[in-house]
Symmetry: C2
Subunit: 246 residues, 2 copies
């Protein structure tokens, strides 16, 4: 039976990390919120499930995955669940290392979100622009280099070589790292201008993931929603800048 | 062999969620950063491991757990790992439901942190007080009710009864919910004044966890560091207020 992925239509957002794993594995899945109401799908169906008063384990927010009766919320949790089933995670205790990296990627994603919404996720960007500028500056000057320097070091210190974050084969964390790098380049073209020189292993990993046949086919398909200003990674030129260290 | 928990000395922070699970299970553990340098412990030992150039899987930040050769970072990930070993998680697929809740609790914790550090975690609170006031207001008026209302609903809809978040026995998510509620009351006494009336199931869960013999013994011990203004939950009176809906 196909997996049911529940995530907002029209944006990559946190759902994209799950989509990449499903696409790489060519796993059958239905995008519930992107379907038609006449088929019992659409965002209404997603919201109904979230608001259900008799669902035994209601999710807080998208993305969540339904596999039979089981509803799994939180992108990193979904990937932990799918990783084993789709062959995108180690079967031994290194799966906790992969998951730890995924959660650190998720932390970066939250910080990127907060560069444009530092005061309140329910408020307009226009009403928190000053704070956004300050937070984006701190992210570009301090947080992004700290995180990306760390991930580069993870590749460097991987005893199985620097082609993957963990072990010697692809995991969902590698796919998510591709997505994070893509998103950072979209949101912050000036801040990432020297990314390739600074983080050559991460750049090579990004290229290797993009060249995988199933990923390349997905990226060229209509299923891949373009990055835009409704998602996590938003290109607001006024928030982008060359890092203070450039 | 005892688990080695690595977390900053002097604050509860994200390490406390792990401590509660270890204490409930009476699992032997060493607090590395709280030990003495002459024993090879202390924060220096923790930082050395984080900065190690030959550690195969270096962690980004505390807390992390060492179990033999394995280093597991991220509090929710540590709890996933320990949950099975310590009998604090379901053995079936419901473990992903527990983990999803833990990750949502972790999201609240991050948002609480950002009420006092909305612009930059490396900047002084004093330099982001205005933004902190705005973010705390949004948290108290919108985010806290949304999250806590959700968790109350999780208890209510649990088919096994409202004594636990998942199933009919204690999980690490219940322990973490206790900690979250404690922290919110410490940081925001005015905002949480009506907590018991609004969220009676959560309040009952908090009380039940506090009354568990191993938890009660831990809370009364010197191992429990008091909440203070170096941790996640900080009582800055200027950030606390009655919710707009009161």
């Amino acid at each position: 039976m196909a997996y049911e992925l529940y995530y907002w239509d029209g944006l990559q957002g946190r759902g994209e990390f799950v989509r990449l794993a499903l696409e790489e594995a060519r796993a059958p899945y239905v995008e519930v919120a992107r379907g038609r109401p006449e088929d019992g799908l659409g965002e209404g169906a997603m919201l109904a499930l979230m608001d259900s008063k008799d669902e035994p384990h209601p999710p807080f927010a998208p993305p969540f995955l339904r596999d039979g009766d089981l509803i799994i919320p939180q992108s990193a949790n979904i990937l932990f669940y799918l990783g084993e089933k789709l062959g995108l995670a180690p079967r031994d205790d290194l799966r906790y290392v992969v998951h730890g990296l995924q959660l650190t990627i998720a932390d970066v994603v939250t910080e990127v979100h907060d560069t444009h919404h530092p005061i309140g996720s329910g408020l307009y960007y226009e009403d928190q622009k000053e704070a956004a500028k300050a937070r984006a500056t701190d992210f570009i000057d301090h947080r992004m280099p700290k995180f990306m320097g760390y991930f580069e070091r993870v590749l460097k210190q991987n005893p199985k070589g620097d082609a993957h974050l963990v072990g010697d084969s692809l995991t969902y964390a590698d796919l998510s790292m591709f997505q994070l790098i893509e998103g950072l380049h979209y949101a912050f073209p000036r801040a990432t201008k020297r990314f390739r020189q600074r983080y050559r292993r991460l750049a090579a990993l990004r290229d290797a993931v993009a060249a995988r046949p199933n990923i390349a086919a997905y990226l060229a398909s209509e299923r891949r929603i373009p990055l835009n200003e409704t998602g996590i990674f938003r290109h607001y030129p006024e928030l982008d800048r060359s890092p203070g260290s450039d």
